[in-house]
């Protein structure tokens, strides 16, 4: 009697519906390519940021997971990464998954023109971050219902071209002030453009992806065309940078 072929079982990846959509993130990358003129010298990366107080941001593992495909994504020490293109993952409508609870982190596009002065960003880079980040569905103001409503009411063009768009940016360290500089024109951002508007109650804050980064949060006037793309966004931090650790190299 001929041996029966072994039964094949396809184990499909269990997905959390609020993990990031690979297709949407690729759409964000395509938008970056189309609108690279905002930041012509900058590459595109994505970045994971803490969203809950107890999340451990060391040793995160990331992968693109479809029904049958799983592609590991290398992560840099600053938790930034480049998302690889994979046609099979696109066909399978894959998710981008981290080995952390979904609600414990948030995501952003990271577009930095090299060679800027220390403690500055470039407004054109931020304009493109907003477009790519919104297109890619990175902002994590979840609950799911909140996300659904957000998606229903906001496109990247609406968010990034309106003072009411409220796309939050995060500085590297806690902020005390933010200044715009374009040639001789210099302006401080008003208080209401820092700390997510400054009107978050603890009850509201847990729904915002700025929950643990509140002191690093600011809005930039990306909608205001009177500020050119080359405008420098200068940061005055709450404290001076910690001195570099006195590291002694050890040869093993």
């Amino acid at each position: 009697m001929a041996q029966q072929p072994a039964a094949t079982v396809n184990v499909r990846t269990t997905r959390d519906p609020v993990d990031k959509s690979y297709r949407k993130m690729i759409a964000g990358m395509e938008r970056f390519a189309r609108e690279h003129a905002f930041a012509p010298d900058a590459p595109l990366r994505f970045q994971l940021l803490p969203r809950s107080p107890d999340v451990k941001m060391d040793g995160i593992k990331l992968r693109v997971a479809g029904d049958t495909v799983s592609v590991p994504v290398p992560i840099a020490p600053d938790n930034s990464f480049v998302l690889p293109r994979n046609e099979q993952a696109l066909r399978e409508d894959a998710a981008v998954l981290a080995n952390r609870k979904t609600v414990s982190m948030t995501w952003r596009a990271l577009i930095r023109t090299p060679g800027l002065p220390p403690d500055t960003r470039r407004l054109g880079d931020l304009r493109l971050e907003c477009r790519v980040g919104t297109e890619a569905g990175l902002v994590s103001n979840n609950s799911q219902m909140f996300a659904w409503l957000s998606n229903a009411l906001t496109s990247a063009d609406q968010v990034c071209n309106s003072p009411e768009g409220n796309y939050l940016f995060f500085a590297d360290r806690p902020l005390f002030g933010v200044r715009l500089r374009a040639g001789a024109r210099v302006e401080e951002l008003p208080f209401k453009m820092l700390y997510a508007g400054g009107n978050q109650t603890p009850e509201m804050l847990r729904f915002c992806d700025c929950q643990v980064l509140l002191d690093r949060t600011y809005y930039a006037p990306i909608w205001d065309k009177s500020w050119p793309d080359d405008t420098l966004v200068e940061f005055d931090y709450m404290t001076d940078a910690a001195p570099a650790a006195n590291v002694q190299e050890t040869v093993q």
């Binding site: 103001n141 909140f146 002030g177 208080f191 209401k192 820092l194 009107n199 700025c210 949060t217 709450m238």
Partner: protein, 99 residues
Amino acid sequence: MKTAALLLTLLLAGCATGEATLGTLAPAGRLAASVVPGRTTKAELLATFGKTKSIVFDSGYETWLYQSPAGGGRFSEFVVLIDPQGIVAKTRQRAPSTP
């Protein structure tokens, strides 16, 4: 339903919307002369200029916003950073914005 209403409120508020923040009014010159980084305490600030718009961060730092009338319906901002020990660490002023 209550949660849905809260979420809708948050969405409309923008999870961070920029509703105008308004600090307690105080004369700009008096603020600049009285509030000295490294010396003025939170208690002194409160006693002299009163309670105002403030944010307390998880780090223990606080930012307080005072505003000063500048004519024509405009206001300048005086922002104070208070360290976790309750001492003013920094101040900054912002020129009046247009109404």
